[in-house]
Every structure is written in C-alpha cells, then in structure tokens.
Symmetry: C2
C-alpha cells in the first residue's frame, strides 16, 4: 500500500483513483496551487476525475488538517502541510509560502491591543520580490487594486 493510500485510509476516507491522484499532485510541489491547476495535474496523471471531485477531495483534506488553503487574490490555493503547529509567511507578490516555527504569538502577547491574538498566517512581500523593482524602491511592483488582482 503506497503512501497516498495509507494517508486516505488513516483519515477514514475511501480509497479512490481521484483522491489518490489529488494527493499525488499535492505532494509533487510545495507551491500552493488552485483547484484548477491541481485538476489539470490530475487529468495529466491519467485520471478522468472531474473538477467537482477535486474540490470535494481538497475540502476533505483541509478538514483533516492535511492541507492548508490560502486565499490568493480571490481564488483558493492549496498546499500539503507537514507540521501541526506552525505559521505561514505568504508573499502576496509571488505567492511563495514559507513555514515558520517562529513564535510570533509570543511577541504579540506583550502588545496590549493584540493580546491573545493567535497567528496563523503572515501576509506580506518576500525579500526577493521587494527588491525586484528597481524603478520603485519605496514599494514593490504589486497588484494594488481588485481589478489588477485578477
């Protein structure tokens, strides 16, 4: 029994071709991808799974805490997550995600207005995107409006 099947079995989910294929696709890269991207991957994998099934599988995996769903410019992107207690640094320019074990909660705990705030994701701009645009040093070249975000 391979890794994907074992995972599904441990979660109490039925072992089906579409699910195995989605898991395999997720494992292929740590870059967060949309349901449509994963679906394309699954199709390329030979499985004739429908987009609906990909959505339902991703939902099940998110509920099982195996996958984390990020919101990228209005569309959901998914990523297999290893560790239990961790936080994500998400670059809003390139979409890079770094898992961190930094205890940022500890930092906030000493800040009055933020007392007890439980950090899950930190959104911002990574170093390389920040420096990328030499023309505009003050601020990275990023989508700034809802229009542009699409």
């Amino acid at each position: 029994m391979d890794q994907e099947r074992r995972t599904l079995h441990e979660l109490g989910l039925a072992i089906t071709a579409p699910r195995v294929s989605v898991l395999r696709s997720l494992r292929r890269t740590s870059r967060p991808r949309s349901a449509a991207e994963i679906h394309a991957d699954v199709r390329a994998d030979g499985s004739g799974a429908g987009l609906t099934t990909v959505y339902r599988t991703l939902t099940a995996l998110v509920e099982a805490d195996l996958v984390h769903a990020f919101d990228r410019h209005g569309e959901a992107v998914y990523r297999l997550c290893g560790e239990r207690r961790h936080q994500h640094l998400v670059c809003r320019s390139c979409g890079l995600v770094v898992e961190t074990v930094l205890d940022l909660d500890e930092v906030l705990r000493h800040h009055a207005t933020a007392d007890g705030f439980h950090i899950e994701e930190v959104h911002g701009v990574c170093a390389s995107c920040w420096g990328e645009d030499a023309q505009d040093r003050q601020r990275p070249r990023l989508a700034r409006s809802p229009q542009e975000l699409k």
Copy 2:
C-alpha cells in the same frame, strides 16, 4: 468644501456624487465591508450610484493607498486606512481588524528563512473568538473548508 471633496481633489479624482458617498460610507465605520455592503450604504445615502461605480471608486481609492482591501472568505472587503506604515491583525473568524505599529518585521529579520520578509497583514484568530467555543478548547469553532467559508 467638505472632507470628502477635499480628499478627492487631492487625489486628482473628479468630485462626483457617488464618490463622495462612498467615501462618506467608508468613514462611517472602521469595520471592513464588502462592495455590496458599501453600495447599500451609498444607496441609503440617497445616491443612486450603481454597484459598478462603487467597485471602480474603491479600486481608485485602493490605488491611492487610502483604502486597504482585505480578502474575507473569497470576497473583498474594504476599509479606510489612516497611517502609512502599519500592519493589520485580521481575525479569520469574526473579521475584526486591528491596526498595529508593532515592528514584526524586526522580529523576522533575525530569522534566517524569513530574512527580509515585509509584513503587511497577520491572519489568525482574535482572543475572543478563540475562547468562544468552550466545547473545543484545542481550536476555535471556525470555517475550515472552502465550502464552509461561504
């Protein structure tokens, strides 16, 4: 010339009834609101402005750095922002937003993998939402799947 008109003038935007009304609505509360909510507010204000115009106005204000757009469960919500350099703490359960001047960047700067990451938003769960669900102390009662997020 009132505040809204002055603002529009400073931004080099034409002063029109819909825009004044959108600005007035934004000023009314610091809670982030969707375009639809702001549109309802604008309508109640007597302006017959259309939803399209509300979107276009919000886009212009975001581009001008006067308004910050958050992503709340797949829909955009908007909020007037005062300070230039600040970060937001966003509760994913109740949508509460707190502006903070904490220099979280400084904290991250000493963490190798996160070197140079420029923080803009911190997503998580606020203290009151965290404690709300007595049945499940380990984790707040939150939407966990894309399905549930709607």
